[in-house]
């Protein structure tokens, strides 16, 4: 295969991948048709409804919580995988069921 062909194939592949990522990101960034965010105030602390848009980066799995995407991905390769981990399937930490941290240790909710 000539170098020119390799470059053309790669250009196409990267363009396609970029488009796919953009579509995926846009699809997940679209606003909810109805506001589903429910704020539960506990003292000065607030957390968000499990499937609200703020879950990923704000609450209850905020950037600084043990369960957030960027702190602790709980992927199978990660230490907090299926068993014995705070984010396992059966643990109280399932992201869409319960808060990732005990109620009394929920960090302050990000504003907005």
């Amino acid at each position: 295969m000539k170098r020119k062909h390799s470059k053309m194939i790669f250009g196409s592949a990267i363009s396609l991948a970029t488009l796919a990522v953009a579509i995926d990101h846009t699809r997940h960034s679209l606003p909810e048709p109805e506001p589903r965010r429910i704020e539960v105030t506990a003292g000065t602390q607030t957390r968000c409804a499990p499937d609200s848009p703020c879950v990923m980066y704000d609450q209850p799995c905020s950037l600084d919580s043990p369960c957030s995407m960027y702190n602790n991905p709980c992927a199978l390769e990660s230490p907090c995988s299926i068993d014995e981990n705070p984010c396992s399937i059966d643990s109280p930490c399932s992201l869409y069921d319960k808060p990732c941290v005990p109620e009394d240790s929920i960090p302050p909710c990000a504003q907005g």
Partner: protein, 400 residues
């Protein structure tokens, strides 16, 4: 004395385009998700540059050792494991209580044993491991696109079967740090790694009567020039990988991993095409469910993988080696398809590839990392012979 390798001119257009791409994506990540993912993306870029400039490869290094006892690649990996253990163990053992990080622990069981063995075969057939596939994609190797596509498919199939594999016998997770304390565990691990280093060194010296140093580099460029445009000696590759691995551990809170993202990409593509994964328990809850229902840019492994690819592309542009002309034969395509499937499936079962399972596991003091090493190496031996049987490689010459 070997002649210096021919130096190519940097591909300025590609370097400019990639630099703009890296800066734009890191800025976007920072605006959209915060500083942490942006930094991790840049760490991925650094890993990609290190991998490409130093030609740091697990699959080639293991194959060269098995075929002709060329051991510098494996020695560089063992050196990386030793240095990483020195840095990771105190952090994971809470020697610095203000730094909160977790290691890559996996179960010591049939799942990891079988997965790493399959991954070892796949690594030789597909001509790349987890990091090697990303590096080669970034370097513009068209044949690796085939491997990557089937790597992704294999990962998705692996997620469908994982539950069954996890029900097979297992000793559970065993952490050397938790069992022995971080200092005794570190000393034990260093002794074993040093012994392995000595064995490889001895085998290499016996076969060739000499040792290739990890600092050797066939280039007449000065140090600064080589730093930017490559090529790097393996020792620089070790330093780069070590630096960005520790950065990843400190920022992300866990070791560098790659292949979770492949399964995620597969699941996203499959659902976008109308496929149904609702019956797969793996994607039903916890982090996988969260990642599936979020932007791919919200997943740390995906973001770091994009960084590795773009970093390798930048390095290939600087080295003038992007998209090399290459003959692609039918048997290579078939091997890439089978290899890719085995890589993906094996990585899922083994709790990670050569990075997440092997490097991350060993550096975290997890016994599953050692099991990965043994099973993965056995699989690589099988893969080397399959390459010969399928005509990809010449038969080995028997040497005393």
């Amino acid at each position: 004395m070997t002649e210096p390798v021919q130096q190519h001119k940097a591909n300025r257009g590609l370097v400019l385009l990639t630099t703009v791409g890296i800066l734009s994506l890191s800025l976007f990540l920072q605006l959209e998700f915060g500083l942490k993912p942006a930094l991790l993306f840049l760490a991925g870029t650094g890993l990609g540059i290190s991998l490409l400039h130093a030609a740091f490869s697990f699959s080639t290094a293991w194959r060269e050792f098995i075929r002709c006892r060329e051991g510098e690649g494996i020695r560089s990996q063992l050196l990386l494991f030793m240095l990483a253990s020195l840095l990771f163990f105190p952090l994971l053992g809470n020697f610095f209580p203000q730094i909160s990080v977790t290691g890559a622990l996996g179960p010591v069981g049939i799942s990891v044993l079988a997965g790493a063995f399959l991954f070892g075969i796949g690594m030789e057939l597909g001509n790349g491991c987890g990091s090697g596939t990303l590096r080669s994609i970034g370097g513009g190797h068209v044949n690796m696109l085939i491997t990557l596509i089937f790597f992704i498919i294999g990962s998705l199939i692996g997620t469908a079967h994982l539950q069954w594999w996890l029900e097979l016998p297992s000793l559970g997770k065993i952490s050397l740090i938790e069992s022995l304390g971080w200092l005794p565990a570190l000393l034990l691990q260093l002794v074993v790694l040093l012994a392995l280093y000595g064995l490889v060194r001895q085998a290499e010296k016996r076969r060739h009567g000499r040792l290739t140093t990890l600092n050797s580099c066939n280039s007449d460029r000065n140090v600064l020039h080589r730093m930017i445009f490559g090529p790097w000696p393996l020792s620089w590759g070790v330093a780069g990988l070590l630096f960005f691995s520790i950065i990843t551990l400190l920022i992300a809170g866990h070791p560098w991993s790659i292949t979770f993202a492949f399964g995620l990409w597969g699941a996203k593509i499959w659902t976008a095409l109308g496929g149904d994964i609702s019956t797969l328990s793996y994607w039903g809850s916890g982090y996988p469910a969260q990642a599936l229902s979020s932007s791919v840019l919200a997943d740390i492994t995906s973001v770091m993988n994009f960084g590795v690819i773009l970093g390798a592309t930048l390095a290939a542009g600087l080295a003038g080696s992007f998209a090399p002309a290459k003959e692609i034969r039918l048997n290579m395509i078939i091997n890439a398809v089978i290899g890719g499937l085995l890589l993906g499936y094996g990585a899922r079962l083994a709790f990670g590839c050569n990075i997440g399972g092997l490097y991350g596991g060993i550096a975290s003091g997890s016994v599953h990392g050692w099991l990965w090493l043994v099973a993965g190496f056995a699989g690589t031996i099988a893969g080397v012979y399959i390459r010969i049987l399928t005509g990809v490689d010449r038969p080995m010459r028997v040497r005393p």
